[in-house]
């Protein structure tokens, strides 16, 4: 039997404006000119694919939808080929709408404040350096597979109190859910079940031996009536933290290194002025935003003057919004010291990414530690860069040569 890791093919796109497909290889490889074409055509475009799907193309249209929880539901957050029944407590709070959203979100916010992240920073630096130790002597490395990929997964494992050595297991689940699951329901369900079973084992262990990690934190949390959370809620939030914590920041770190490998001037500037790294991180987040969330239209309305009909999905492309030249001058260029930058890489409105402070810290530390030890690197012309598909965009293979070119 053929390996199921290849999703079912969609017919190639010939008319991007009326028939777009974010899983098309051309989009996966280089979406930027496509977004520009769509934006020039309309602030909201539509495709019949994925059982009907809109995509806002401007910052303004994305903002309108993100703030309109009455017409746009978060009960489905990935644009896929199928619309199975909505599972209760799938991954709260990201899958919740008001009014149940707020308490679920407030529960997760305190462990992810900037101050909480500061405490985690030394552990992150150690992880980055351990990873670099593993390949620096080789003179070449796949920076996505051996560096970027393991930083966020080990961070979130550390916070959840699950073994960092299980990282490959987690990464495989995420791949099944966020990429293969777009077109293959069975892969998604399998990963969700395996993940839930894994967390149930950990929950059981903590009943007899409580710890101070995020699993125990959720187990001890109380709702507003003072009752413990339902187990399905605890499991849903744990799945969310693992899923949301991994691919996203892996992609952001990978894209940043990809940019720096191809842009020696930016690299040299960051080495000379490390204080600029936090500002550069914001610009890299803007230019290469990894995450596109989805919404489901539940009530007819208009967005930027365009009618949208219930029953369709929405590809809520924060990355495309961040390339809108009306909001960002020279939107198609990476301006490493851009000062005015209200990018939407972490979303807008009530669903702002809970882990944004963690992601920012990881990106800063990952770039700082890398640039300190590996100031010179470039793409390996003998290798190929590949990009992930769908919900989260980032390099999955990133072959680099390390050191000065001979």
């Amino acid at each position: 039997m053929s390996d199921v890791s290849q999703p079912a093919a969609h017919p190639p796109v010939t008319d991007w404006v009326h028939d777009f497909d974010h899983t098309d290889p051309q989009w996966t490889e280089d979406p930027f000119p496509i977004w520009d074409e769509l934006r020039a055509a309309s602030p909201v475009v539509h495709t019949e694919r994925f059982l009907g799907c809109y995509m806002p193309t401007t910052y303004e249209a994305v903002r309108e939808i993100a703030n309109d929880t009455e017409h746009f539901s978060s009960r489905r957050i990935i644009v896929r080929d199928v619309r199975p029944e909505v599972a209760r407590n799938a991954a709260p709070p990201i899958t919740s709408d008001p009014p149940v959203h707020k308490p679920a979100k407030q529960l997760l916010l305190p462990p992810f404040t900037p101050d909480a992240m500061k405490k985690l920073e030394p552990r992150m630096r150690a992880i980055c350096n351990e990873l670099i130790d593993g390949f620096i002597a080789d003179g070449k490395v796949d920076a996505a597979a051996r560096y970027a990929k393991y930083i966020p997964v080990r961070a979130i494992a550390h916070m959840l109190g699950i073994p960092e050595s299980d990282s490959d297991l987690f990464i495989n689940w995420i791949h099944m859910i966020l990429e293969l699951g777009i077109k293959d329901e069975s892969k998604l369900l399998q990963a969700v079940q395996e993940m839930s079973a894994y967390f149930r084992t950990h929950i059981e262990e903590r009943r007899s031996k409580p710890t101070d990690d995020l699993i125990s934190y959720l187990m001890n949390a109380k709702d507003k009536e003072g009752q413990p959370l339902e187990e399905s809620h605890v499991l849903g939030s744990l799945r969310l933290l693992l899923i949301a914590g991994i691919d996203t920041t892996w992609s952001a770190i990978g894209s940043s290194l990809w940019h720096l490998a191809r842009t020696p001037a930016d690299r040299e500037r960051l080495i000379a002025e490390p204080g600029l790294i936090p500002i550069a991180v914001e610009e890299l987040l803007r230019a290469y935003s990894p995450v596109t969330m989805a919404r489901e239209v539940v009530k007819e309305t208009t967005i930027s003057g365009c009618p949208v009909k219930a029953g369709n999905m929405v590809l809520l492309s924060f990355p495309a919004a961040n390339r809108d030249p009306k909001v960002f001058p020279d939107a198609d260029k990476v301006v490493i010291d851009r000062r005015e930058n209200r990018h939407a890489a972490f979303g807008l409105g009530i669903h702002r990414c809970v882990g944004s402070n963690l992601a920012r810290m990881e990106m800063q530390v990952a770039l700082e530690e890398w640039l300190k030890r590996i100031p010179d690197f470039r793409l390996d012309p003998a290798g190929t860069v590949t990009w992930s598909q769908g919900t989260v965009r980032g390099p999955r293979q990133l072959p680099f040569l390390l050191g000065k070119a001979m």
């Binding site: 407030q106 916010l109 404040t113 900037p114 936090p278 000062r339 930058n341 209200r342 702002r352 402070n357």
Partner: protein, 69 residues
Amino acid sequence: MTERLRVHVDPDKCQGHARCKALAPELFELDEYGNAHEAGDGIVSPGLEDKAWLAKSNCPEIAIDVIEE
């Protein structure tokens, strides 16, 4: 004539992106959920004016007002 600046965070709009605190730690504080409010009465001490405008122009939720008094 010197104008005084005051910053104000609209708590209904703020979603806790924490950009303001990162860019102007003297002018903003975060609560236990990471949501921001202006430090003290929000008055911008001389020399911090740029930081106030910078925070405003980096808030993704357009939650920050800089008021000239």
